[in-house]
Symmetry: C2
Subunit: 160 residues, 2 copies
DNA sequence: TTGGGTGCAAACAGTTTGCAAATTC
DNA sequence: GAATTTGCAAACTGTTTGCACCCAA
């Protein structure tokens, strides 16, 4: 969609301004990393991004990519996720105030997003009942997508 | 509660039987690890357990504890959690079919449990709508408990 | 010119693994 | 006695850090 493209441009502009304000410099590495990152889009790992960046410039060090990722997370432009139990951290562009959670296929690893305002409401209520001021949450569903049959055995129960 | 004690005994018995069936042996290390694990109860890390076990027997190797933990997770007796983004894995006894999720205080780290059947229902519906067969989920809320004031700055948005 | 940024290699945390010796069945 | 389990140390994965050099502002 065109809206998404516009959104990306806005994000990039916003980022430039954030970096400017913080006195962070615009280097060729950072520009390249951002290009690739906006291209990949969603749910990539640091390794994914490193490989991708190195295809364009094999001299970029992984530390630079890690440092840039951390900077972007701290600037609020990226979100970190730790999906299924032993995968590494995955990153995702944090677009405006829009919020969604994820459902992940246990066979093929496909990740779909969902929004459910009712769940969010209930979360507020639960927090309130326990005397907490809710700030954020993580919520992932795991299952089998329509393309995948359940793995033969290994029944799984929910983990909260 | 007495019910909990009974439940522990049942769990232990169940475990013995599972181990028996799998041809796993009952060693002094495993018995000690189980004792301490049932004592600690919930939301402990591998390190917590290792320290605790070593207080009783300083010769137990950490590999043994890790191996035992993995065995217990695979037997379905323990659940693994990865709470806030950069903490290590935490373990919890998996009691029967009872299920709960967690809310974590961002200041003091306190963990409270909650159950919300409506949320579980909505999760089913969401999965169905996306063509997934739901198998499990992780769901954590983050906020400030009644004993803790919000940290001065650092506003946080939700992460799914 | 000067502070931030870079690549490299080493450090790091948490966890797993190879192996010879010890233990359980 | 055969097979499993152990402790140790080394390996491994994902990530961070120290440092000398480099470069954008």
């Amino acid at each position: 969609m065109a809206a998404e493209l516009r959104e990306r441009k806005r994000l990039r502009a916003e980022l430039e301004s954030v970096m400017g304000r913080k006195g962070l410099r615009s280097t060729s590495q950072r520009r390249l990393i951002l290009d690739r990152l906006f291209e990949i889009g969603e749910h990539f790992t640091a390794d994914d991004l490193i490989a991708d960046v190195r295809q364009a410039d094999s001299t970029v060090g992984s530390a630079t990519v890690y440092r840039t990722l951390r900077m972007l997370v701290e600037s609020g432009l990226l979100q970190e996720h730790r999906f299924a139990d032993h995968e590494g951290t995955r990153f995702e562009l944090h677009v405006g105030d829009k919020h969604h959670d994820h459902i992940i296929c246990m066979t093929c690893g496909k990740i779909r997003e969902f929004e459910e305002p009712l769940i969010e409401q209930l979360q507020e209520r639960v927090a309130e009942q326990l005397g907490f001021k809710l700030q954020s949450h993580t919520h992932q569903l795991y299952g089998y997508c329509s393309d995948c049959t359940p793995a033969p055995s290994k029944s799984r129960s929910s983990r909260g």
